[in-house]
């Protein structure tokens, strides 16, 4: 008799231990956010909930993504990495792609706007390259529709790297490492005849290599991603509430533009930055698509690893995430051609704190292994 009671008591204790985390889950489960749109149902903000599936980054089928017929081989990626870090790509051998897209600064540069060859600031901020493999349109105004198409833009830009096709090809063709590497990648054979190896070093093959390397700069496993995949301990309650603010069309309404799964709609919006009121403002997308709506519209950036890439916005006008949220709280500053999706949001202090906590949770920490691996040469 005694024994049985003991056992039962132990069971009870065990049940309590099991129930405790359930209590936390219950709190989590009460968070439901109505999705935008008729009969769209709601998001249930609980780790692993099926309603969150659209926030899972799909595995990349890289062969499909390359506009090129050549698939992404390890050798091609390695070659791309060498090119990305090589100052030979600039006319005076002073800078590489990585001078602006710096691995430890989220593949951005920590400056409001990039710095030109002559040391003068350029017009726009250096964007992060994280998850560009998921992107469908590139640069702030979307003038390139693939990473391959974008790759040589900065090389030939007089204020960025100042080189030319002739100069670039001459330099790389007279470099023994590249002669060997290109021929090996594209023929899978060791070729030493220079006349032949030269044929493999072309604008096309250089672009392919750079793009293939860029497609490896991924961030797919933030605490947020772990939570979406089902890990109840990955996010704090404040971060989960912050995700609620982010999704809720009555509060942050951020996900309309920073849409699943990569926190971007690959679309263009004027979010009312103060600089749009400048006498001669950057018209952004309008330069590429002269439609009124596009005056002062820029591409929606992805937000994974956002903590690594301050300052923010195409003009670098927000120093911190707090500044960014303050901008949205005001519903934009320059309202001349404001996107109709910019609502007058009114977040309380708790919402703001939660939202910012959430933005940090979609970033890996600066000393994360994967950053250091990627930056190794």
């Amino acid at each position: 008799m005694q024994l049985i009671i003991n056992v039962n008591l132990r069971r009870l204790a065990l049940a309590l231990v099991i129930l405790m985390p359930c209590a936390a889950e219950l709190k989590e489960a009460t968070l439901q956010i109505l999705r935008n749109g008729e009969n769209a149902g709601s998001y249930i903000l609980q780790a692993g909930d099926p309603s969150l599936a659209e926030w899972k980054l799909p595995p990349l089928n890289i062969a499909d993504q390359t506009s090129a017929d050549h698939t992404q081989s390890d050798a091609l990626i390695k070659l791309g990495r060498a090119l990305f870090f090589d100052p030979k790509l600039s006319s005076d051998n002073s800078r590489s792609c990585a001078s602006c897209h710096r691995p430890k600064l989220g593949w951005s540069d920590g400056r409001p706007t990039a710095v030109g060859l002559n040391g003068q600031p350029l017009d726009r901020a250096t964007p992060s390259l994280y998850n560009s493999a998921y992107g469908t349109i590139f640069t702030w105004d979307g003038r390139a529709s693939s990473l391959e198409e974008q790759a040589l833009g900065p090389v030939y830009d007089p204020s960025e790297m100042g080189s030319s096709a002739d100069e670039l090809l001459t330099k790389l063709r007279s470099d023994e490492y590249y002669r060997k590497a290109f021929a090996e990648v594209f023929t899978e054979q060791l070729i030493t005849d220079q006349f032949i190896t030269d044929q493999f070093i072309t604008e096309d093959s250089i672009s392919r290599a750079l793009a293939s390397f860029e497609r490896t700069l991924l961030v797919q496993n933030t605490r947020f991603d772990q939570w979406v995949a089902g890990d109840h301990n990955a996010l704090t309650l404040s971060e989960i509430r912050g995700f609620g603010v982010f999704l809720d069309s009555e509060r942050g309404s951020c996900a309309t533009c920073h849409a699943p799964p990569n926190f971007t709609d690959d679309g263009f919006h004027n979010i009312g930055l103060a600089s749009f009121s400048d006498p001669d403002p950057d018209l952004g997308r309008y330069n590429i698509r002269p439609v009124k709506l596009m005056r002062g519209a820029f591409k929606t950036p992805s937000l994974r690893n956002i903590t690594l890439t301050a300052p923010y916005f195409h003009d670098g006008s927000a120093e911190t995430l707090e500044d960014v949220v303050e901008h949205y709280q005001q519903g934009g500053v320059s309202k001349g051609n404001l996107s109709p999706e910019m609502k007058d949001i009114d977040l309380n202090t708790q919402d703001v704190d939660d939202l910012i906590a959430f933005l940090r949770a979609i970033s890996i920490t600066r000393d994360d292994e994967s950053i250091n691996m990627a930056s190794e040469q």
């Binding site: 935008n36 749109g37 769209a40 469908t136 709609d265 263009f268 997308r285 596009m294 109709p340």
Partner: protein, 108 residues
């Protein structure tokens, strides 16, 4: 058995004909950041209606010589019309979401 099959075939045919006709009506939906059709053929003088079925704004514009227009931006449930006056191929795009593209072939 045979009759059943005939009835079925007739119904299927009837339905698919109905479907094709409905499909040719110049009404284009905008849903999940896509136009409901990729290609549409209309006659000069026809009016095409674009209806936004997504819970956010869309736009419709074209810079093609056969028809240059910008229908602005409008929310879910609203539509915009455009009448085609000239024959030719018209590339239609949403300025907000450039992956939304379609072609309208306007014939005499």
């Amino acid at each position: 058995m045979n009759t059943a099959l005939k009835v079925l075939t007739t119904f299927t045919l009837w339905f698919s004909v109905g479907y094709v006709i409905a499909d040719q009506l110049p009404n284009v939906g905008q849903k999940d950041k896509k136009f409901s059709v990729e290609k549409l053929q209309v006659n000069v003088g026809d009016t095409v209606t674009f209806t936004n079925d997504d819970p956010f704004f869309h736009n419709v514009f074209s810079l093609s010589p056969a028809a240059t227009f910008d229908l602005g931006s409008y929310p879910q449930g609203e539509s915009r019309d455009i009448t085609f006056e000239e024959a030719g191929e018209v590339q239609v795009e949403c300025a907000i979401h450039p992956s939304m593209q379609m072609t309208i072939e306007v014939t005499e």
